[in-house]
């Protein structure tokens, strides 16, 4: 897959999700009952994902500042059980099962508006290697730049998730389950097909650091 191909797929998916996502939910437009229900749901999420989506354990991804369309897509995928990696089944199938479309949108908007966490430093050489992969891809293996979909600062873009500041072990696990197709992610299957474990470790170390 070349960069143009990836960009074309990205545009198509962004467009599709834009239609799915619909209008943003305004907190002001919510009734007291809705606000209270949302608050309760957020408290439930916080048990794993941390206060305001700033999770402590790398088992659970940080949700703060994640893109709303991505969160919405994932919650739907948990609910209809199309995202079926081990942790999705263990934790999120149950958690998302009773969410309705409106509450999924509310949650997605809420977490997308939380301030992002700061990056965490690590092995400098590994981070530099990871940055190169993120920015330039691995041309020899036909692996496009991650930045082409996830944004130059890994800030995410619509359905393409924010990766900046995310726990490295979580990201590594996602790359592995996507590569093994335990987690379905059509664009990513092609993109990371030939990404090896060392390269994965480098790129997630970089992402955690920014």
């Amino acid at each position: 897959m070349n960069l143009n191909h990836a960009a074309a797929i990205m545009s198509a998916v962004v467009c599709m999700v834009g239609q799915l996502h619909g209008a943003e939910v305004s907190a002001d437009a919510m009734t007291d009952a809705q606000r209270s229900a949302l608050q309760k749901t957020i408290e439930t999420c916080a048990a794993c994902h941390g206060s305001s989506g700033r999770s402590v354990s790398p088992t659970f991804p940080k949700l703060a500042a994640q893109t709303a369309p991505y969160l919405e897509l994932q919650l739907h995928a948990f609910k209809d059980q199309t995202r079926a990696d081990p942790d999705a089944q263990a934790y999120m199938w149950g958690m998302a099962s009773q969410l309705n479309d409106a509450s999924i949108t509310e949650l997605a908007v809420y977490f997308s508006k939380q301030p992002a966490t700061e990056g965490k430093g690590g092995n400098t050489a590994l981070i530099a290697q990871g940055k190169q992969i993120f920015v330039e891809g691995v041309p020899g293996r036909q692996i496009p730049a991650c930045a082409s979909c996830h944004g130059a600062q890994a800030q995410g873009n619509g359905p393409f998730p924010r990766l900046a500041g995310q726990h490295a072990p979580y990201l590594l696990k996602q790359l592995l389950v996507i590569q093994s197709v335990l987690r379905t992610a059509p664009v990513m299957h092609g993109v990371i097909k030939d990404l090896n474990r060392d390269q994965m470790q480098a790129v997630v170390a970089y992402l955690e650091s920014i």
Binding site: K40, S51, S57, S97, Y110
Partner: protein, 467 residues
């Protein structure tokens, strides 16, 4: 640790000898009821059941109410919710089948006195050791229960086992979206001091999570260390602040099932008045690690009963304990360290008058340290050290075959080694070995009848099913 050895305080009646021999364990466990209610796998709440993960602790502190199944609901005319009930009751079943072998067979106690020189059968299978039915989950919004009914195969008895009913309310303040501070304020109504606790360092949910009910139990344990389980009722208030600080105060009073009611002299070890229980803990989580340190304790006045009136002067037990837990939960490797130390000061005014004890005051110190490891929650093991020391008392800890103490001492120490295999998350196959360095005061001839501490070394096999 869930050894529930019986203090051999009231002479040497065969009844107590039987209890002491049969032991000694109140198992504790996790329940698929919660999985049914939440739709989440066991691994969300447990490292290896019944030990809790940080999320499991949060779930319990929140009153067992997290639900992800269809609710039967009701509202009043002002749109206030009047009912929110699981459409499927969160029920589950636990079965334990066990095998026990002691290094040397135990004395034959007979039905009308021990048969001199005769030994009981060794290599005992209990089928079942225990079968339990649980209702564990939501009752209403913010109200939930962990309730267990157990058939005890050794005692051939069915009754209410560990029960914890709790209400939990969540508060957030100090910021709206940022949720700068959050706390849970809750109430607990339970029948076993520490059953409401969320760390696996306290007695009700401590290591070992299961053990032989056939092998001899040590002669002494602190009141808070299992002696009051299912014979008290307590109501308490707790708070959990910012996922760091825990504080609880609970008051217990006697609530003894079975036997004569109103409670009378046929009962034994009956709590008098209100017994305050307290608990403070601090937990820090980082990356995949968590560590907690805490203290807990209880001040209990007790009527010895056992043929003496439940009135007049009482014994008094002041238990003060410290505990610590470390947990690492990786993708492949999980490790836990559990430690607890309990100091009990005993003032035995009633027992001295009733000739159950010689000393007016005694002390008892219990220390337990355990390390656990699991690979992918599939295969693992534990190694635990336990040590009980205390003042000698010639009446309280008298000599008796297998169960007594020749030097009137409660001092016991040893180790527990376990290997666990979990073919599924809700099925545990376990081999456990308990080795004693000292038992009831001595290494050799501890009972005055020729039995050595190592004769009580126990091989224990367990098939533990939850469904």
């Amino acid at each position: 640790m869930t050894f529930r050895p019986i203090v051999f305080e009231h002479g040497f009646s065969k009844l107590l000898a039987l209890i002491a021999l049969c032991g000694a364990i109140t198992p504790s466990w996790a329940v698929p009821s919660f999985a049914r209610q939440t739709g989440m796998a066991c691994a969300a709440c447990h490292t290896v059941f019944p030990e809790l993960t940080p999320f499991g602790r949060e779930f319990k502190l929140n009153g067992y109410v997290l639900d992800n199944i269809k609710q039967v609901t009701g509202i009043d005319v002002e749109n206030n919710q009047t009912l929110s009930l699981n459409s499927i009751p969160p029920l589950s079943v636990m079965v334990q089948v066990t095998y026990t072998h002691t290094a040397k067979a135990l004395p034959d106690l007979g039905s009308a006195g021990a048969l001199t020189g005769a030994l009981a059968k060794d290599g005992e299978v209990l089928f079942p050791d225990q079968v339990s039915l649980f209702y564990a989950g939501k009752i209403a919004n913010e109200l939930g229960a962990f309730m267990q009914l157990t058939y005890d195969g050794a005692a051939d008895h069915f009754g209410l086992d560990n029960t914890d009913i709790r209400y939990a309310h969540h508060l957030s303040f100090g910021g709206s979206d940022a949720n700068d501070h959050h706390m849970i304020v809750g109430l607990t109504l339970n029948n076993n001091p520490t059953v409401q606790d969320v760390w696996n360092t306290t007695p009700a949910w401590g290591f070992p999570f299961s053990g032989s009910r056939v092998a001899p139990g040590q002669i002494a344990s602190a009141q808070i260390d299992g002696r009051l389980g299912q014979s008290v009722a307590g109501i308490g208030v707790y708070t959990w602040f910012d996922d760091h600080f825990y504080a609880e105060i609970t008051a217990y009073t006697a609530a003894v099932p079975g036997g004569n009611h109103p409670l009378d002299s046929t009962q034994s070890n009956v709590a008098h008045g209100l017994s305050p229980y307290w608990r403070f803990a601090y937990e820090q989580r980082w990356d995949r690690h968590s560590i907690s340190v805490g203290t807990y304790g209880m001040d209990t006045k007790v009527h010895p009963g056992n043929g003496t009136a439940l009135q007049g002067v009482t014994d008094r037990f002041k238990d003060i304990a410290a505990d610590a837990q470390y947990q690492f939960i990786g993708e492949d490797h999980l490790a836990t360290v559990l430690a607890t130390y309990i100091h009990e000061s005993q003032t035995l005014d009633a027992s001295v008058i009733d000739l159950f004890a010689t000393n007016a005051t005694n002390n008892l110190k219990t220390f337990k340290l355990t390390g656990e490891y699991s690979y992918r929650r599939k295969i693992g093991g534990s190694l635990g050290y336990f040590n009980t020391t205390g003042s000698a008392d010639m009446t309280l800890y008298g000599a008796a075959p297998a169960t007594g103490s020749a030097n009137n001492s409660p001092n016991t120490n040893g180790y527990i080694a376990e290997v666990n295999y979990l073919p599924w998350l809700n099925v545990k196959l376990q081999i456990q070995y308990v080795g004693y360095e000292k038992f009831n005061g001595l290494k050799l001839n501890y009972d005055g009848a020729g039995r050595n501490a190592s004769d009580n070394n126990t091989l224990y096999g367990l098939v533990w099913l939850n469904y």
